[in-house]
Assembly symmetry: C2
Homo-oligomer: 368 residues x 2
Amino acid sequence: MSKTYYFPLAKLHQYIIDYFVHWGVSASDANLTADVLLAADQRGVDSHGMIRLSSYYGSRLRKGLIDPACPMTILRESPTTLSVDAGNGLGHPVSVKTMQQVITKAELSGLAMATVRNSNHFGIAGYYAMMALPADMIGICFTNSAPLVAPTHGRQAVLGTNPIAVAVPAGSSRPFVLDMATSIVPIGRINVYQKEGKSIPSGWGVDSNGQITQDPAAVRDGGALLPLGGSELMRGYKGYGLSLMVDIFSGVLAGAAFSSHVGNATQDRVCDVGHFFAAVKIEAFRELTEFKKDMDELLDLMRHSPKASGEERIYIHGEKEFENAERAFAEGVPLSEATVKTLIAGGQTDGVPFDLKPTRVIEERTEN
Amino acid sequence: MSKTYYFPLAKLHQYIIDYFVHWGVSASDANLTADVLLAADQRGVDSHGMIRLSSYYGSRLRKGLIDPACPMTILRESPTTLSVDAGNGLGHPVSVKTMQQVITKAELSGLAMATVRNSNHFGIAGYYAMMALPADMIGICFTNSAPLVAPTHGRQAVLGTNPIAVAVPAGSSRPFVLDMATSIVPIGRINVYQKEGKSIPSGWGVDSNGQITQDPAAVRDGGALLPLGGSELMRGYKGYGLSLMVDIFSGVLAGAAFSSHVGNATQDRVCDVGHFFAAVKIEAFRELTEFKKDMDELLDLMRHSPKASGEERIYIHGEKEFENAERAFAEGVPLSEATVKTLIAGGQTDGVPFDLKPTRVIEERTEN
C-alpha cells in the first residue's frame, strides 16, 4: 500500500517554474520545462516527471553541470533539416523549440528532421512526438541515454534504454502514441523488485558474467538490462538493433556522445545527450480525411479483434496515458508518496520550499 | 543433415530473368527482381529468395493475380515525397525504382520519403534500405504483410510480421544493416519445429485461445505468432506497437491495405501490400567523415565490449549477412535441397526448366 497525493495542475506548474527560475533559468524556458515534466506525471509516467526535479536537474544545476542559460545554437540548417547544439542546457526547452521548428519546416517541405547534441535528459520522448499531432503530422522522437543495457552476447552496459516515440493522428479515435524504451524494462523496475525482495522475471537482465539472472541485485551490481526480446532465443538482438539505431540517430548523427560516452546524472561531468526529432506531413502522401478514416479502422481492428481467454481489452499505444491525463485534468495530478517526499526534501535543500497542499490523498496498491 | 547446392551467381541471375520474362515481365523489371531475390540467397535469408519463385510469384502470375506489366504510377510528388501506385505488379521493381527516386530527392533535399500501395511481396526489406549506402545516406524501409501476429491480449492474427530495415554507412567498418521482422520469429521457423517434432520456446506464439503454447501445430491451427517481446510481462506490447507503426507507414499512409485486409499468397485476390521508403543525407546534419569515424567507434564499442561467459563474439547487425554474401561471391550461391527441389518442380510446371548444374554439393547440419 502506498499513498497518492493529488495536486491542482496550475499550482504544480507554477512551482516547477519557480524552481527553475531560482536556478537562473529564464521564465520562458522554465515554462516549457514545466509543461514537459508535468505531462509525464499527468500521463502516469511518474518516473520521468517531478520526481527528477531536484535529484537530476537541481543537483546538476547546483554543481554547474547544466547551464541554466540554455544557450541553444544552430549548427546546420536547410528547409528540411536542422542540427542544433543545446549548449549543455536543460533538455526540455531546446527539444520543444527544435520540434516546433521541425513542424514549421514540415508544413512547408512535407518532411523535416532535426538532431540535438550537447543536451541533457529531456523527460518523456512521447511529448515531442505528440507536438506534431495538432498539425496533422506524424511526430517521431528518439534520444540516447546513459548506458544500462548490454548487447546480445555481452555483459557490460554499453547502450542506454534509448527510447523510440512515434505519434500518429487519427479521426474519431485517440491518436496512436508509441513511447517505448528499447530495453525490456527501465532500471527503476529492477529497483522496485529489489526493494520488495522479489525475483525478477527471467530475461529482464543479466549478471556481471552476462548470464540471465532473476536476482535484481545482480543486475544492479555490475550486470545490465537486456534489450527488448531478452535472450538470443527470444531474438533479443532485435531490441539490441533498435537500441543501436536510436544511438545512431540521436548520438552519431547529432555529433553528440554515444554508447558508454553518454554521461549519467551521478557523474561530475557533462552528459552530452543527443536527441532526434522528425515530422511527416500526412497530406504530402494522401488526403488527410482518408488517412484518418483508415487510422480509425486500423485501431478498431485491433480493439475489436478477439481477446485471449481471460483478457477483456486490447489496448492501443497511448490509450492508458490519455485516460490518465484526462483523469488528472479532472481530479488533479497524482504524485506518489515518494515523489512528494522528494519534492519536500529537495525544495528545502534547494531553497524553493514545496508547501503545496494536496486536494486529496488516497491509499492504493502499487502495481508491478 | 541436409544438402546445400552451390550455383554460379550469373547463371542463377539469368534463370530468374528468363523465368519472369516467360510470364510477360519486361527484361528490365525481371532484371531488378533477380537482383533482389538473389541478394536474399546470397545473404543467407533463403526464406525470401528463389524458393518463392514459383510458389509465390509464379503461382500468382499464372492466375493473373499479379500484373506482369508492373504498371507503376505516381499519385503525389514533391521535392521530398512520393506516393506511388504499383498497379498490382511485382513488389521488387517498383520498390527499386521508388527507392532510387527517394535517394535522388534526398541528394537535393536532404531527406525524402515514399509510400507504395497496391503492391506485392517485395523480398527482403534490407535490400532497399541498403540502396542508400553508396550515396552515403541512411536508408529505411518498412512493408506490411499478410496477418500472422496477434496483438497483446489478442488471439487472432491481425498484423503481419511487418519488418523494419535500417541501413547506415560506416567508415572502415561494414555498414550497420538492421533488417528485422517485428514478430519474434517468422512462421517458417514454427514450421521447421513442427516438421522436426520439437516444442517451440514459450513466448513465440499463442494457440487459438490466445494462450502461450509450446506446440507449433497450435500456433498454425488458429493460433498466431507473438510480436517481439512475447508475453505482456516481457513487454510484448512494444513489439506490437512497432508492428502497428510499420502498418501505419506502409499501409495507412500509403493508402494500401492494412491489418487483416492485406492478402496472402494463397488467396485468390489482389494482396494490396504497402511499402514505405526513406533516405537521410548525412551531410545535411554533420560532416560525413566525422559521422563515419563515430560510426566506426560506436560499432567497435559493441564488438569489443566484454563478452558474456561462453560467448566469443558480439555481432553488429548485418555482419553475418555480409560475410555470407562474400562467401557466396567467392564460392557460388548456396541453395538448400528444398529450394532446388522447388525450383525443379516449379520450373517444370511453369515451362521454364531449371537445369543448372551445381558447382558443388555439401552435406551440413541445419540450424534452428
